[in-house]
Assembly symmetry: C2
Homo-oligomer: 243 residues x 2
């Protein structure tokens, strides 16, 4: 039995991965993280997706994380002087404007803490034998995100697995390794759309738009990329239909 | 120049490490984390210690973390059914009652995000050349904490350094490695007290007691261990003097 914690952002990629985990027969729990993103419309989407897939999801408020990324803009001891977007701009052109330092390391750590707690609970309650457990963290990292994002590469995730093995009670006391599965890491966006469609993932509920309105704007970078992916896959985007 | 982020809990160990970093001539910033501990008296101590050492400190509210560790006690989809301490007790005897899943991984990740943001800021603003940077995260892990805590061992920290190298913009784009220094990792408690005293660390401001009153209770496990350490070092504990 694979117990899986899926990092669920409410977007196309993580929804595909969650649907993949359900189809694989994993016992799945979702984790949704508020980390200071511009809007939380995508977290509503994550809840809707989880409901549609029949999996529980927990949302945690880690909005302080955006402030850490602004520590660079600290001008007075002990105070954050600048709001988030000014801090990012101050970092200049070489760092992608959407780069958030160590965000995936942070996300995977939270998923791993959730997963370890779950597994320790099962073991200590006598509901599971360590040798039978096969816990996994599922992430929606993919090849397109790779460019400019070091923490979307397979070797990065391999190194994280080693940290989790060495740094957890589960790994050191029980010999159980938490694996990281990134089932769409080698796929392009069109392949992901096709795979999600094959899985019957609830794509109509996903949210990719950078804006936070009732409907996707259709014109931001994320909407444009999504439209190109659906077009390349030859599939109509159900999230763009009149509901 | 070494730029250092010190994880500052307000206790004896992290205060010693912060004083060590200041004495080494590092440019030091403190990071103090509320993660759902029983009381936040120690965070007041962290601020006082930082002031005494003349370093800035940022406190972040990650109190959701205690909830993640209770996910094991989840009985209803999407809801945390149990308060923190019942969740821990439910985990049984093999797991130390003070074990918090992957807490040090979590703490170091937050310190690393802070440090990377700081360094990227310096580089992008033109205030520093990557090759001149020598960033470090300082942690108060030590040999006594080792027992039962897998995430206090040197090999654990080595594996984290690799994750930070592979998963950061700083490591992959600029070739700058964030190191982890654990200057008291090989010391026993008495050695730490002696070293702290030699450094002139503000031990009178530190807080070790599990209770959250105005003065240490003197009788909890942590107070007893601390008293034994000071006695073994042959030094009076300044925090136990009448102020």
């Amino acid at each position: 039995m694979t117990h899986a914690v899926v990092l669920l952002s409410g977007g196309l990629d993580s929804t595909t991965v969650a649907a993949h985990a359900v189809r694989e027969g994993y016992e799945v729990r979702g984790l949704s993280i508020r980390y200071g993103q511009r809007h939380v419309r995508e977290l509503d989407a994550a809840r809707d997706v989880a409901d549609a897939l029949g999996i529980p999801v927990v949302e945690v408020d880690a909005s302080f994380y955006a402030k850490l990324a602004d520590y660079s803009a600290l001008t007075n001891a002990g105070e954050y002087a600048l709001p988030q977007h000014r801090g990012r701009e101050a970092m200049g052109g070489d760092v992608p404007i959407t780069y958030v330092p160590l965000r995936n390391t942070f996300f995977v750590t939270l998923a791993a803490a959730t997963l370890e707690s779950w597994m320790l609970g099962l073991i200590e309650e006598g509901s599971a034998v360590p040798g039978d457990l096969n816990p996994a963290i599922l992430v929606g990292a993919n090849a397109i995100d790779y460019s400019g994002y070091p923490d979307c590469r397979p070797e990065f995730y391999d190194s994280v697995v080693e940290v989790l093995r060495l740094g957890s009670k589960l790994g050191t006391a029980y010999g159980v390794t938490m694996e990281i599965e990134a089932p769409i890491i080698e796929m392009g966006k069109a392949d992901i759309v096709r795979y999600a469609s094959d899985l019957g993932a609830p794509l109509e509920l996903t949210w990719s738009c950078y804006e936070g309105g009732d409907r996707p704007c259709g014109s931001c970078d994320s909407c444009v990329l999504r439209a190109e992916a659906f077009a390349a896959a030859g599939i109509d985007d159900p999230a763009m239909q009149e509901r």
